[in-house]
């Protein structure tokens, strides 16, 4: 059935399936203030918890005096490590195989660390109780620099056995966590010593924070009558949380129900397990009442999972014509006081080994050393797939540095090094199999769209005008071609705490032809209820409007590893398509029975099964659904349901070409983004409007990171950027106009060819903005300047280059 008769087109359009810009079904409630977030949950007798946090980055906890706090009206209990120890809950395992204090056990390792948990009848009393807890500290010397930490005699983690291996192998020093390697070290060093040109640079991707609009929080309710614990919370991976809670509390997993209600953004911040969850559960068990814990903004920025903080020393080798021969990278990763990174178990540095990027680099080597410092733990994938942003930033900066070294145009250097279309599937030197791509096509389209040659001419004229004193503004052209690795992942090498990173979908078709689909992923704003219904609409021929997508309740949703690392569409979306195909397979048999033909004599046609060669004889999916419940079809069970657990055969590899044109005021360090062009190739496009929204949002977060957002510490380990006054969240006024574009290279192994897109703009956006800043100053001798490129740092670039003289 290849003809697209008007009738078929019309029927297809009515489904609102794949490829249409269906309006988000979530927005009716979100735009009317009718969302149901965790802080909206109010239960009878619910108590409130709040933390006493450490003002010091490194200190012994000599004494915690709770008497005065317990006298505060409304305060019922103050939990300390001493109270948790008999339950063996004063420490908890991290996702990275380390352990973390739930409450300070004799010492604190970062400012903002949880020291005591005050439980009170309301939020105000809890805060007053926190104020009244008296903690005696003895300050210890502070390590905020990972390089210094690796040399220092100061031991941060006395709890770790000296000389014993960590979760990821040998530890070289008491502040060292792991070394992780990929590629061929010897071969790469050989290449470096025999190549025409080697460019070397330290590329720092500073510490920042996902800072979702909604902070982290939970409500724990232990029903002592039936022994069932219900935990509502801001969980990006509710099933994984259920398993973790069961493992550390000893409560059997069937007696735990985890619910993720509406979530106001996650961006990786809500993947991990935090002391607030453990303390709320314990407090509910102790008091027999529901206990709510909600972070405030300062708690969130100071204590729950940061992102990045990678010092990436790079060497890139090439022929004098610019063909890359090898890439070497040594990364020093600052993980803070505990290793609480959220990565697949076998990848303590995430997918940093995608750092060969979009380029055909024959030989490469990567080593990553994780280091403890007196900073908050975390290291989550802030709108990216496990360190892919760091990798993309690294290689895109190294390309610029190599272009300078070769005195070449950076666009041309990329072009001659791209993996060619005919090389896919492509085996990278660091061990990945890139599934598909057409980088040259995307690149050419992007360069043509912005009139790249014209921009370079304008830039050259601007430089002359600047030198002649006619302007104080420089023009930067920031180029990026990024390749992501998302959709973790194949169970054979991807797990978290031993849980394979498959995902799932369960579908029930109701007799009247509507459907309920439950998935293992959980939206934090991505719009799953909209797009997953579209996937199914196209697969099962029922309108998207007739399909409810449910997620986030572990008592009803099938097991899944949640939503992060752009894995929803690649993994749970694939499970959804395959579950839909199971529905269709059964529907085919029912249709054949109803049409009194053999199963093979009917075929699917948009919203119905038709008899081959006789399209006037058909049964719609709606008719088939009813028949599934009212006809006794020989040899077929009643009902129409399916479940699919999908173990992806490979990751997906979305890519894109971004170009940023930026004006920079040399005297004030201010910038103005004149143009931003973003071409994304995410394979099959499910909902172009949602893709555009995701790209706009991700680019704005990328803008924030590149141009100002950071978690900065002073030498004493004090957080300098703990409020939104100093932690840069762009408003509409700082956000430029974006031009979006696309090419479509479907994933060959994904059931519908989709690759994931939500994180692409952050991965590609950061180097595009940063490269624009660097490019503006290239003619004056700048090679590398670390982010964030806020006003004073940009001013300092100009000042150091003598442009203020």
């Amino acid at each position: 059935m290849n003809d697209m008769s008007p009738d078929r087109a019309e029927r297809s359009e009515k489904l609102n399936g794949l490829g249409c810009s269906r309006k988000r079904v979530e927005d009716a409630r979100f735009t009317q203030g009718k969302g149901n977030y965790v802080d909206d949950i109010k239960l009878d007798g619910m108590l409130s918890g709040d933390f006493v946090r450490s003002p010091y980055a490194h200190a012994k906890v000599v004494n915690i005096s709770t008497e005065k706090a317990l006298e505060v009206p409304g305060v019922l209990a103050v939990l300390t490590a001493t109270d948790l120890e008999p339950l063996n809950l004063h420490w908890m395992p991290t996702l990275a195989g380390d352990k973390q204090m739930v409450l300070a056990d004799g010492k604190v390792l970062f400012q903002g660390q949880e020291v005591a948990f005050v439980v009170a009848t309301d939020r105000f009393a809890a805060a007053d109780g926190v104020e009244a807890v008296d903690v005696e500290y003895e300050e210890l010397p502070v390590l905020t620099d990972p390089f210094e930490a690796l040399k220092s005699d100061i031991v941060l983690r006395e709890d770790l056995e000296k000389g014993a291996d960590g979760a990821h192998g040998p530890r070289k020093h008491h502040n060292h966590i792991f070394t992780w390697e990929a590629g061929d070290k010897d071969a790469t060093e050989q290449v470096l010593s025999h190549s025409d040109v080697v460019a070397e640079e330290m590329v720092y991707y500073h510490r920042t924070h996902p800072c979702p609009l909604e902070t982290c929080g939970c409500v724990a309710s232990m029903d002592k009558v039936n022994g069932k614990l219900t935990l509502w919370g801001t969980f990006q991976a509710p099933h994984a949380i259920r398993t973790v809670v069961s493992l550390i509390s000893g409560i059997e997993e069937h007696n735990i129900r985890i619910v993720s209600p509406d979530i106001g953004g996650g961006f990786g911040n809500k993947v991990g397990a935090y002391p607030g969850y453990v303390c709320s559960v314990v407090a509910s068990i102790v008091t027999g009442k529901p206990v709510k814990w909600i972070e405030d903004r300062m708690d969130n920025l100071m204590a729950t999972a940061f992102a990045r903080d990678y010092w990436m020393q790079g060497k890139i080798a090439a022929t004098k014509e610019g063909k890359i021969t090898g890439l070497w990278c040594h990364t020093t990763a600052d993980h803070g006081g505990f290793d609480a990174c959220a990565d697949p178990s076998k990848f303590p540095a995430g997918f940093m080994s995608i750092c060969t990027g979009s380029y055909d680099i024959p030989t490469a080597y990567l080593a990553v050393d994780g280091v403890y410092t007196n900073k908050a733990p975390g290291g989550v994938a802030y709108r990216c797939s496990f360190r892919v942003t760091e990798a993309a930033y690294f290689v895109e900066r190294m390309m610029e540095v190599l272009a300078i070294e070769l005195n070449m145009d950076a666009a041309e250097l990329r072009r001659i090094n791209f993996i060619r279309k005919d090389q896919f599937p492509y085996q990278s030197a660091l061990g990945w199999e890139y599934d598909s791509g057409d980088y040259h096509a995307a690149w050419d389209k992007a360069l043509a769209a912005v009139d790249y040659a014209g921009l370079r001419r304008e830039q050259a004229e601007r430089i002359e005008a600047f030198k002649a004193g006619h302007t104080r503004k420089l023009l930067g052209i920031g180029l990026t071609h990024f390749t992501e690795i998302v959709g973790a992942g194949p169970v054979k090498n991807c797990d978290i705490l031993g849980l394979g990173m498959f995902d799932s979908c369960e579908i029930r078709i109701h007799p009247t032809g509507s459907a309920l689909a439950r998935i293992g992923a959980i939206s934090q704003g991505q719009g799953h209820a909209t797009t997953f219904a579209q996937i199914l609409a196209s697969e099962i021929g029922l309108p998207a409007e007739s399909i409810t997508v449910e997620q986030g309740d572990t008592d009803t949703a099938p097991y899944g590893l949640g939503t992060y690392g752009s894995r929803s569409t690649p993994v749970s979306g694939a499970a959804t398509a395959l579950a839909g195909r199971k529905i269709r397979a059964k529907a085919q048999m029912i249709a054949a029975y109803l049409l009194e033909v053999h199963d093979d004599d009917v075929e699917f046609d948009v919203d119905r099964f038709v008899v081959k060669g006789a399209p006037e004889r058909f049964k719609t999916m709606k008719e088939i659904a009813f028949a599934a419940y009212n006809q006794a079809v020989p040899g077929i069970e009643p009902g129409l349901e399916a479940v699919s657990y999908y173990d992806p055969p490979n990751m997906t590899y979305p890519f894109g070409a971004y170009i940023c044109v930026m004006e920079i005021d040399v005297d004030t360090g201010e910038h103005d983004i004149r143009q931003f062009y973003a071409l994304d190739d995410c394979g099959t496009r499910i909902n172009p409007m949602i893709i555009e929204g995701q790209v706009h949002g991700g680019l704005t977060e990328a803008l924030a990171i590149a141009m100002g957002q950071e978690i900065a510490y002073d030498d004493m380990g004090n957080v300098k950027t703990g409020t939104l006054m100093d932690f840069f969240l762009p408003t509409v006024c700082e956000t430029p106009h974006y031009t979006t574009d696309y090419t479509t290279t479907p994933s060959p192994h994904h059931p519908i060819g989709a690759k994931g897109v939500g994180e692409s703009p952050n991965v590609g956006g950061v180097p595009a903005f940063s490269n624009a800043v660097h490019d503006a100053f290239r003619a004056f001798g700048l090679r590398q300047s670390h982010m964030p490129h806020d006003q004073w740092r940009v001013w300092k670039i100009a000042n150091d280059l003598g442009l203020h003289n």
């Binding site: 105000f124 004030t668 201010e670 100002g708 840069f728 408003t731 006024c733 004073w792 001013w795």
Partner: protein, 283 residues
Amino acid sequence: MIPAAFEYYRPRDISSAVSLLDQFGDEARVIAGGHSLIPMMKLRMADVPHLVDLQDLDELSGIEVGDTIKIGAMTTQYEMINDDDLADVAPILREAALQIADPQVRYMGTIGGNVANGDPGNDLPGLMQCLDAVYSVVSSDGKRTIPAREFYKAAFSTARKDTEILTSVSFCAPKGGCAYVKQKRKIGDYATAAAAVQIERQGDRCTAASIAMTNLSDIPVWSEAAASALLDTGVDEGAVKSAVSGMLGDIDPAEDNRGPVAFKRHVAGVILTRAISSAWARA
């Protein structure tokens, strides 16, 4: 971000408000728009056992435009921006107020709160020094006025006594050209550097000038040295450089997340140069 408990009062007239201040002394604070005080209370950096809300005191609101301009302390920045008579006579008020925080803050933020709090980051104190404004305050002892140029003693420390309420801000309709130029990191931020400039000219000569800088010291800096460098000049490049040099002698910026001292001093010069250029063109 939960404040300590406090008593809340909402007097209907000034005498009731004043007597509350007499009663509680330094344990009481008046609140106008609250956009500085409430965050400080939530952070528990301001301990205010008795909070006296002035929003029912209608007599503190309103803008009178004549040879002298009088703005009631509870007038919001939004009201200042949208008062066309004020904009005709003193467009600098609208220009400066539009650079305060963001629209949502400006619906609540008042001129009185902005000038009385003594926050070196606030924009209006510098502007009021530039315009030589006078603040009226009242207490149970009666009324008095304090020149803006004598009001600020140190960060969050002013000439207003704890028992006094600032009721209005008055200044002569500005002559010549004015400009308020501000560099900030983002909408809603305090100034990295800001300059308020007023210049009068006759022909090609500058006959009067007044210059004040914001957030470059622990108080606003009215720089006589900067202004006098422009007097009797054609406000040429040399004169502007002298003015900048005079200003740099008066400011004392501190390093913070906006940048190091050298950066702040540099952009203070750039911003002042731009403000002078703009005010001169308007004069």
